[in-house]
């Protein structure tokens, strides 16, 4: 049941992103940021569940597959939506609101997955999770700036 719910949420977020007609991101950027977003989330999840034991994914098929879907699709696509919105925003104030808003949204999804028994916080403090998403989004903005500069130079240097 929880897997079906997350299947719908993931499909909805993917549909929401790909139906945007005038995307701010080029196809290569979508591939690259998707990979980086997924890598950051998987490292965060692996460290919390396997090393620090501060969170856990229940050993049941539904939650475990829902978590697999979330770390490879949901969070990376939310990252793409964030970067698209961030790029489309004009002015520092709007961009700051976008950064904080998306960080809270992503934390909200993590909180929801905890409440539904998918990625359960044991000793992981809520503000750590919030800080993680803020840092995650800041890192992604930095990567986007560097990557765009590299692409604009033709990628030859």
């Amino acid at each position: 049941m929880v897997f079906l719910l997350y299947l719908l949420i993931n499909a909805g977020v993917v549909y929401g992103f790909f139906r945007i007609r005038s995307k701010q991101l080029a196809p290569l950027e979508i591939l690259f940021y998707w990979c980086i977003g997924s890598m950051l989330v998987q490292n965060y999840s692996a460290l919390q569940t396997m090393n620090f034991k501060s969170a856990m994914v229940p050993d049941q098929l539904g939650p475990a597959f829902a978590h697999l879907l979330n770390r490879t699709v949901l969070y990376p696509v939310l990252t793409l939506l964030f970067l698209h919105t961030f790029k489309a925003s004009k002015g520092a104030g709007t961009r700051l609101i976008c950064l904080i808003g998306f960080s809270l949204l992503m934390y909200g999804f993590e909180y929801l997955s905890g409440a539904l028994g998918v990625f359960v916080h044991l000793t992981l403090k809520e503000w750590w999770a919030m800080t993680y998403w803020l840092l995650h989004n800041l890192i992604m903005v930095g990567i986007m700036i560097l990557f765009r500069n590299k692409l604009q130079s033709g990628g030859a240097r």
Binding site: P27, L28, N43, A46
Partner: protein, 170 residues
């Protein structure tokens, strides 16, 4: 520290140095931007499969000394597996493997054999531990499938870099 630096760690470091040296020699064949994107793609592909199969949801094998996420596992994702794909793609281009399906089939079979041999050595050195149920025969279909996906992504990146030069609308 959740690991000891012993035989299996040295095995990973030694293999990665050999492979990275090989990639350094053939690096001119690839555009730097292509290398960067392909490197990240491969890293994430391997890490995703490893996390899913070794940890949640499947728990089928261990990588390195124990069931935790060790730094050397992350190192292997970045510097051990990824160079293979560059060597694979280098000869794929150099020998024009895509000229017919029979040649491609032979090339994929040869690489599957190389990958299985490396997997067997990895088991001997304790880099991988199949005590939790994974069978080496299950790996056989994963190599050609991964290779085909790598070719697909390689062509996509090349096409995007050559035919659709990126011009941001600032």
């Amino acid at each position: 520290m959740n690991f000891r630096f012993d035989g299996n760690e040295w095995f990973v470091v030694a293999c990665s140095i050999v492979l990275l040296t090989y990639v350094w020699i053939i690096r001119k064949h690839f555009q730097p931007m292509l290398m960067l994107i392909l490197w990240v793609y491969n890293l994430v592909f391997v890490a995703t499969l490893d996390y899913a199969l070794a940890a949640t949801p499947f728990h089928l094998y261990d990588c390195m000394d124990n069931a935790t996420y060790e730094p050397m596992a992350a190192y292997a994702h970045a510097f051990l597996y990824t160079p293979y794909s560059f060597i694979f793609l280098y000869y794929y281009d150099k020998w024009s493997i895509n000229r017919n399906k029979r040649v491609l089939l032979f090339y994929l079979s040869a690489w599957t054999c190389i990958a299985l041999f490396f997997e067997w050595i990895s088991l001997k050195f304790g880099f991988l531990d199949y005590g939790r149920g994974w069978k080496m025969t299950w790996s056989v279909p994963t190599y050609p499938l991964s290779a085909l996906l790598t070719i697909r992504v390689y062509r996509f990146i090349k096409d995007q870099l050559v035919n659709h030069p990126f011009r941001p609308q600032e």
